[in-house]
């Protein structure tokens, strides 16, 4: 991503943003609400066209093929009559055309994702029969079934139940061996110690190559003034607010 700007109408949301994501990166994107984090994801997904700049993937212009996406609280209707297996299969639609049949190998891929995420017993259930954590695992399954190179997570902390939260981040750590992860959050506390580096987005983007942020960094960049400390239990320290 190079010198990228985006705007809604006259409102400049992102300005000259540069971000490089390498294989097996685990980047936490933080910043205040309205700072442009979700816009950044939308640009990567191609939902918002940048006013300026471009996205390059493996030397080519980016397409959706290699990206998995777990949206912020899903807009999907949990009472919709569709099974867990079918929802996870929809993650393959990126590389299928509009006329799409799912082959036996597609279904095998779905089965292995379902087993990996511990959803085997509910593969034929509807979402309304699952718990919040299970629903999120279904959507995670939809994001990873295509073995993406890059996994985008938008505020996953928002609909994880706390009992499941640790499992979820453990799962992400495992997945991180296979794919780079870019996770958006406004709450640093939910970004666990698994994160390898930070990017602060508040119209401009500032990249921190380590998972430690110094107080000076925060003051200089006008990012949300919250710190994660890494102990046995990661916790959040609130600092001076501007």
């Amino acid at each position: 991503m190079h010198s990228l700007s985006a705007s809604y109408g006259a409102n400049l949301v992102l300005q000259e943003v540069d971000l490089k994501v390498y294989e097996n990166d685990f980047i936490g994107v933080i910043g205040p609400n309205g700072g442009g984090k979700t816009t950044l994801l939308k640009i990567i997904l191609g939902l918002v066209k940048p006013v300026k700049g471009n996205l390059v993937f493996n030397g080519e212009l980016l397409n959706g093929n290699s990206i998995g996406y777990l949206p912020q609280i899903s807009t999907a209707d949990i009472n919709y009559p569709v099974t867990v297996t079918d929802i996870i299969l929809s993650g393959l639609m990126i590389r299928k055309g509009i006329i799409s049949m799912m082959s036996q190998s597609d279904k095998k891929m779905a089965d292995s994702v379902i087993t990996e995420l511990g959803l085997a017993e509910m593969s034929k259930s509807m979402l309304s029969e699952l718990s919040g954590g299970q629903i999120q695992r279904v959507f995670l399954g939809r994001a990873i079934i295509g073995n993406p190179r890059l996994l985008l997570l938008d505020e996953p902390g928002n609909f994880v139940d706390t009992t499941f939260e640790n499992d979820f981040y453990e799962k992400l750590k495992e997945l991180n061996n296979r794919m780079a992860i870019l996770m958006v959050s406004h709450d640093v506390g939910t970004i666990s110690s698994h994160i390898k580096s930070f990017a602060c987005v508040n119209r401009r983007l500032h990249y921190h190559p380590s998972s430690e942020i110094t107080n000076e960094d925060l003051l200089a960049y006008g990012c949300p003034i919250q710190l994660v400390t890494h102990g046995d239990v990661p916790h959040t320290v609130l600092k001076y607010h501007r």
Binding site: T75, P81, V82, D86, I98, K124
Partner: protein, 287 residues
Amino acid sequence: METSIFQYGFIIKSLLGAVFASITAGLAGTYVVSKRMVFLSGGITHASFGGIGIGYFLGINPVAGAAVFGIMSALGVEYLSVKQRIREDSAIGILWAFGMAIGIIFIYLTPGYTPNLMSYLFGSILTVSNADIIALGIMSVILILYFGIFYRTILYISFDEVFARTYSSYVNVFKYITTSLIALTIVLNIRMAGVVLVISLLTIPPNIAMLFTRVYFKIILWSILAGFVGTATGYAISYYAGIPVGATIIFTLVIIWVLVKSTTLLIMKISKKNTIFKTLKQWITIL
């Protein structure tokens, strides 16, 4: 009593009508019910009555007028809801009454022969022409092909439109096409079930089906079957009792729904205690 040849032709026509009505209503209805578009569909139905009135007034085919009105109002509401500039339920409510008003005004303004309003409001098999049956037949083929070819695309867009936008730039195209096809399905079924009752022809069969299964294409198949049983029985009752066919069809469908619902409830309840009923419950779940 009419001649047997007439009766034979009438039965064939009724049966074909029942088959095509249940296919079109089953496919469109499953989409409408899953996506919670029942109120929108009701709005489309009543708005299309305006087209019927204008059709009579101008001396063109009322069904063609209804089709134009139905599709335009469907696309209008979809467009407005995409733009989010208006409360969707209010827009539908206004459209609903406005369509009926236009219909009544123009039918009363039409000089000379006034059509039988009752047959449009409550349906009548006697006014269903061969052309209507053929149109429904063509619509069945179109819907089967459309849902058959684009099954997953349609399913996933209606399940999670926001996610679908991340991989497809055709989301709006599919939404508009599907909504137009639903509007056409409704309009073509008005002759038979009537403006007031046609919406139940779309909504009751999928609700019967969902008592058995949660898999989308199975809901479609069960809806078509339930729709056929309801429509054919409704025809028979209507014919022998001389009641408008729309009313008898809907009545039969609701009776089926109540029977199936109470049977499944009963089985679920007993199955907790009795092992024989447990297997029966599993059998139902497999279906």
